[in-house]
């Protein structure tokens, strides 16, 4: 009898516990948002397990949450970016987030549905611009999917809003988006002092074994260069493209920004027999773009820092920003701790950019 009574008590306790547990979701805040393609989504609560099939949004999740704890799966490119930039320094655990979630060789964003399913994600962030082939497998598997688009400033802010909403911290997106708006206003205002005639020709490029990848029209680089009051020398290219050194010589850029990928070095321009005689080659105004939250010059949450970097080095006397102070402030906001002097020097690639005109001036200011 004693045994039966005890059992009844246990069962009652369990039932009471279960009823409380069942009532928790209804008490929790339901999340409603639209993804970048306009699809309305609902989550029962802020996502605590996020898989980012595409690369840029992984660091956005970290920066808006000030921690990588919600990331349970990321693209291999994200791990490389974490490792080279700030995320891996502040959160070493981010380097071991599972990244075998794509189909190797089938395209960088083709999901490996079974690998993702093992991670039990609350939501999967995927590219919305590359057709249904990379979305359908995720839909068929029954995941909640948030689709990502890029290309305009408006979309960049919507991405921040969407991700901040997904993690239940919409206030963070408001602050970051305000920073973007303020920075654009500041650079645009100071660029008014740039004379209309004889604007500097600026180019963002990456040397490859077959030539040079350049960032043409409709890219973040083009946006930054134009905003600074300069002209994108590769404007004739739509998006990204590969050109030869003769084409670069014909464009004759005044300033070159090298995308930080692999072992890119200033000498690839300064010691090249052709490029060394271009304006940028002669003046030495060749700079390697830092990698912080993302590789500057791609798209990500520290775009405002990239814009200031480009503007300040293109027209140092016109755009007199305290870039380092802004980096310190926003990295503290995004990653929850102050970046040390040594880390700041590393992030700004002070050693690899040493000797470049105005560089120490920008870094020191």
């Amino acid at each position: 009898m004693m045994w039966n009574r005890a059992n009844k008590r246990i069962v009652l306790c369990l039932m009471a516990g279960l009823s409380v547990a069942a009532s928790v979701p209804s008490l929790a805040q339901e999340i409603r948002f639209q993804d970048l393609t306009g699809r309305a989504m609902t989550l029962p609560q802020p996502a605590s397990r996020i898989v980012s099939v595409i690369a840029p949004t992984a660091s956005t999740v970290v920066s808006l949450d000030s921690a990588p704890r919600r990331l349970v799966g990321v693209n291999p490119i994200s791990i490389a970016t974490f490792s080279a930039g700030i995320v891996g320094r502040v959160f070493p655990e981010a380097l071991s987030v599972p990244s075998a979630i794509t189909q190797a060789g089938a395209g960088v964003f083709t999901p490996n549905v079974e690998a993702i399913a093992r991670l039990s994600p609350d939501i999967v962030i995927q590219a919305g611009y590359a057709g249904q082939d990379i979305i359908q497998p995720l839909t068929n598997a029954g995941f909640n999917i948030a689709l990502y688009m890029w290309g305009t400033e408006d979309q960049a802010r919507q991405v921040n809003t969407m991700i901040a909403t997904i993690i239940g911290r919409p206030d963070r997106a408001r602050e970051v988006n305000q920073w973007r708006a303020d920075t654009i206003a500041r650079i645009t205002a100071s660029a008014a002092a740039v004379p209309a005639a004889g604007r500097a020709k600026v180019i963002q490029l990456l040397p490859t074994p077959n030539g040079f990848t350049v960032w043409g029209n409709n890219t973040m680089a083009d946006f930054a260069i134009s905003m600074a009051g300069a002209v994108n020398a590769a404007k004739a290219v739509n998006g990204m493209g590969n050109v030869n050194r003769e084409q670069l010589a014909a464009w004759d850029p005044d300033v070159v920004f090298l995308f930080n990928s692999g072992n890119v070095s200033r000498d690839q321009i300064l010691k090249d027999p052709i490029l060394s005689v271009t304006s940028a080659g002669r003046s030495g105004r060749v700079y390697i773009l830092p990698t912080a939250s993302v590789n500057w010059g791609s798209v990500g949450e520290d775009d405002p820092l990239f814009w200031q970097f480009v503007a300040a080095l293109t027209y140092p006397q016109v755009h007199r920003f305290d870039l380092v102070a802004d980096m310190r402030k926003w990295f503290t906001f995004m990653y929850g701790r102050l970046v040390t002097e040594a880390e700041m020097g590393d992030l700004l690639l002070a050693a690899r950019n040493s000797g470049a005109p105005n560089y120490s001036f920008i870094v020191a200011r």
């Binding site: 060789g105 077959n210 030539g211 050109v243 030869n244 003769e246 084409q247 010589a249 014909a250």
Partner: protein, 352 residues
Amino acid sequence: MSDVAFNGAKVLRPGSFSRPLVYGLMWALVIVAAMLGLCAGRYPVSPGNVIDILLSQVWPRPAAWLPIEERIVTLVRAPRVVLVGISGAGLAIAGAAMQGIFRNPLASPQTLGVSAGAAFGGALGILFGISGYLLVAGAFTTGVLSLLVVGLIARLGGRSDTATVVLAGIIVGTFFAALVSLTQLFADPQTSLPSIVFWLMGSFATATWDRVYVAAPIVAAGAALLWMMRFRINVLSLREEEAQSLGVNVERDRWLAFLFVALIVGATVSVAGIVAWVGLVVPHAARLLVGHDHRHLLPVSCLLGAAYLTFIDMLARTSTTMEIPLGVLTALIGAPFVAVLLRRTQRGSQAT
């Protein structure tokens, strides 16, 4: 020049052109293509300046041009035109030899699987971040290695027949193509993968004098050795029994020719990736001009190949801001050409 008319259509008889005229025309084409290649590019340099710059390399004179113009002409365009010309010549002569040896109009330097072998070496090199001489050496080594494998598969009891060689070439080519895919699988999608893909499509964008010094002697040696075999290739293009009855060591000569073809293809792929269609198309055009006699077919293919590829490469690098991969253009022009040729051949054979 004489035409044979039947069914109301005019059909050229192969080899019906005057040979001195053909050789003169071919040399003129090579010179015109080279000059066009030197004068055309994305950076504007006037033809007068190009000629002055070239002459100043032999007879120094006061420079009336910008230093960058001289560098563009001497360090960008000149090595590229030379490398393209030599590669085109090599691939075309190799194609002509292969079509003769296999007695098959569809044979090409790619038939032996050497291109895929060399491509694997190159792709592997890019994957591991190797560049320069090492990349070229790696591609060349795997190219020649693939020929060895073809030999091991095809030769049985010291003998091989052409059909088995073709099959072995397909097997080895497919195997190495799969290995190339495997390297793409592991390549960094942001850096090495685009490089491998672009390189596999064929490009002379990285031409330098260093690459010319590496590839040109090998291609030239391979082409010269094939030319020295012109009589034997004529015999090899007969039925095997006939060739043997004429006292030719068919097996030895065939594999010697394959080795020379492999040298050419390995060297070309190692500096420019896979440049398809040239070795297939050009010999057909050359055959229309000088007929099937390899004593003339080989040198005319060589000259026509040089001119053709130089012209195609000029289009590839000047048509748009971005370079068009060479393989795309050679296929776009080559495929319709072969289609027309096929139609004419069919019409000709139906008429006779």
